[in-house]
């Protein structure tokens, strides 16, 4: 047969999900909308004219223009954090083979949080440069802890045991954070978002600090995706294909922890974004991680940025931290997913 029909045959066999292009297009449109919304909405809404002025003119005296300019780092930061959390969630779900894994559900965010709060309180640490490392150490230790608790007993680290271990650890760590912060008003005032998560205090220095972690984490995610696809068929299948499952899990977990640890260091523990963004993409595109990972970055960026906008709108003259918004919307969805999961496994 001709090479044309060969090519058609290949296209038919292509592993690219059918609606990938549509989803990518819709995603990019939503991303655009969320960026504009994040720049324009808040306690003071700006006009289109002010938006343009703030973005494209160097010197502007207009108040609206300056408001927009103030919102640029916040927007960039929420996009980056959302992308990091999305990829982190996708990786954690792949590593634990658990569709409801997420940095917050597994307690990793809270571990990072606790270390940062301890650093601020007991070591008088004040710069983002220092607490990003603290957060990473905290995230790493918590991840190892939750995973070892979850692997105890028969059957190893089953999804349910991991989630239970994560939830218990998260609850314990969160009360520790509260216990440390409550009696110290200076910690409370300055860093109260470490309890809820916020992107409101974003600045360019923080973003610059964050970028290397984002790049390394996402890069590892991309590179491990084909092997993680094989791992999804079971450890035995993956081993037969020449994959060292332990090393693969470790690499992907390190990437996930880097991403959510760095995010938590700068924005506090933001829950459910990883869970939601990866889950939505898997629901639409199917289980191929080569597509889930990049698109989870996109959906995470959208979800976090929109959530931040909603928080600003709901908060009236003040604002609602984005962590509160994601918790409010994420918790019911998690319950729904968990119910669906239980029904299926029964």
């Amino acid at each position: 047969m001709s090479s044309l029909s060969d090519r058609q045959e290949h296209q038919k066999l292509s592993t690219i999900p059918k609606n990938f292009k549509v989803v990518l297009f819709i995603g990019l449109v939503l991303l655009g909308i969320s960026v504009v919304a994040s720049l324009a909405f808040g306690s003071r809404w700006v006009s289109v004219h002010e938006l343009m002025e703030g973005l494209f003119y160097q010197n502007t005296d207009s108040y609206g223009g300056n408001v927009v300019r103030k919102r640029v780092p916040r927007t960039v930061f929420s996009l980056f954090c959302g992308a990091a959390l999305g990829v982190s969630g996708a990786l954690m779900q792949a590593v634990t083979r658990n569709p409801i894994a997420d940095p917050s559900i597994l307690g990793v965010n809270m571990g990072a949080s606790l270390f940062v709060v301890c650093g601020i309180t007991f070591l008088q640490i004040t710069t983002a440069n220092q607490y990003i490392w603290l957060a990473l150490v905290g995230a790493m230790i918590t991840a190892v802890f939750v995973f070892s608790i979850g692997s105890m007993g028969r059957g190893g680290a089953t999804p349910l045991k991991l989630v239970l271990a994560g939830a218990a650890t998260s609850a314990a760590l969160s009360s520790l954070v509260t216990a440390i912060m409550l009696p110290r008003s200076y910690v409370m005032d300055q860093f109260r978002f470490w309890q809820v998560g916020s992107v409101g205090s974003a600045n360019w220095d923080g973003i610059m600090l964050f970028i290397p972690f984002l790049i390394v984490g996402i890069l590892i995610g991309f590179l491990t995706a084909p092997a993680l696809n094989a791992l999804a068929l079971g450890d035995e299948v993956a081993s037969v294909m020449g994959i060292r499952t332990g090393i693969l899990r470790l690499m992907a977990a390190v990437a996930a922890v880097l991403l959510c640890g760095a995010t938590t260091a700068l924005a506090g523990p933001i829950g459910f974004v990883g869970l939601l963004s990866a889950h939505v993409i898997r629901l639409i595109l199917g289980p191929n991680l080569r597509y889930i990972i990049p698109l989870s970055a996109l959906s995470g960026a959208i979800i976090l940025t929109i959530s931040d906008c909603i928080g600003r709108l709901l908060g009236g003259t003040g604002e609602l931290e984005v962590g509160v918004v994601t918790a409010f919307t994420g918790a019911p969805i998690l319950i729904l997913l968990a119910m669906k999961l239980r029904v299926r496994s029964l």
Partner: protein
């Protein structure tokens, strides 16, 4: 034609954690043939298969491929020679047939995981051999048990290995699908010379489809060879503890086991056979 290999277990002892299951097995897999491991439940058939596929590390002895210990062969390189379909692989939710089969290409792809023309061809060929091309866009959850098993075997075939292990590929399937799967595997062996080693539960299908039988009991190799030579009522009694008479399969001419229970037995045959086993 797939290349020939010398694939051997030498004094292999293996098991899980504290429990030794395989007690010093020596065997050589006949190249380009179909071998079947038979034995009672928990005799170590699957454990031996997994040990030879490097899923379990032998506690002593070694597995060698062309004279080289498989521990010393780089993982991905071995994966291009030896493939295995385990007993219960996991189906990711919502996965399509072509995506699943395509994942078998992993050992042939570079670190960056790009898809080459060869990959597409291998996947198309594997789906063609297992007769699942028409299903390529279907979700696995929508398929029947027999179709699903063919898809899994296609996934293992996409790996394009010379040697293919299958751990109970026909268990839980209706008899129609068992025969269908075994026919397809025989096609594969005859057309490409793929060395096939599998664990099967059905003794008579094993005897019919195997070129070579490995009979295991309590982690040791009791007998091996052509079905017509090894499959005797004495061997069946020894490995399964079951009285039986061996007849010639009227379709294939291979030995066929007819079990003898306590009921539904003509009196004369029962006493005849009993007499035999007493004298032997």
């Amino acid at each position: 034609m797939k290349s020939a290999h010398v694939f051997e277990a030498e004094e292999t002892v293996a098991g899980y954690d504290n429990e030794t299951i395989i007690h010093g097995v020596n065997l050589s897999i006949p190249s380009n043939k179909i071998s079947v491991m038979i034995g009672a439940n928990a005799c170590g058939k699957s454990t031996l298969l997994k040990t030879m596929a490097r899923l379990i590390k032998p506690s002593s002895g070694q597995i060698t491929l062309d004279g080289q210990s498989i521990d010393k062969i780089p993982a991905k390189q071995l994966a291009r020679v030896l493939g295995m379909l385990p007993q219960s692989p996991i189906v990711p939710e919502g996965i399509t047939v072509s995506d699943l089969v395509g994942r078998g290409r992993f050992p042939h792809q570079s670190f960056f995981g790009g898809w080459s023309k060869k990959d597409y061809e291998a996947v198309a060929e594997a789906m063609d051999i297992m007769n699942v091309t028409a299903l390529s866009d279907n979700h696995i959850d929508e398929l029947s048990g027999g179709q699903r098993q063919r898809v899994w075997i296609a996934m293992a075939l996409a790996q394009q290995t010379d040697i293919l292990f299958l751990d109970e590929p026909t268990t839980f399937l209706d008899i129609t699908y068992q025969v269908e799967i075994l026919d397809l595997l025989t096609d594969l062996n005859q057309k490409y010379g793929t060395t096939i080693v599998m664990v099967l539960h059905d003794i008579n299908l094993s005897a019919r489809y195997a070129d070579h039988i490995f009979a295991l009991k309590q982690g040791q190799l009791l007998a091996e060879g052509e079905p017509s030579k090894v499959m005797t009522s004495a061997l069946i009694k020894e490995i399964f503890g079951l009285d039986c008479t061996v007849i010639k399969d009227p379709i294939s001419g291979s030995p066929s086991i007819v079990p003898i229970g306590r009921h539904h037995v003509y009196d004369d045959i029962f006493s005849l056979n009993k007499g035999k086993s007493v004298t032997s």
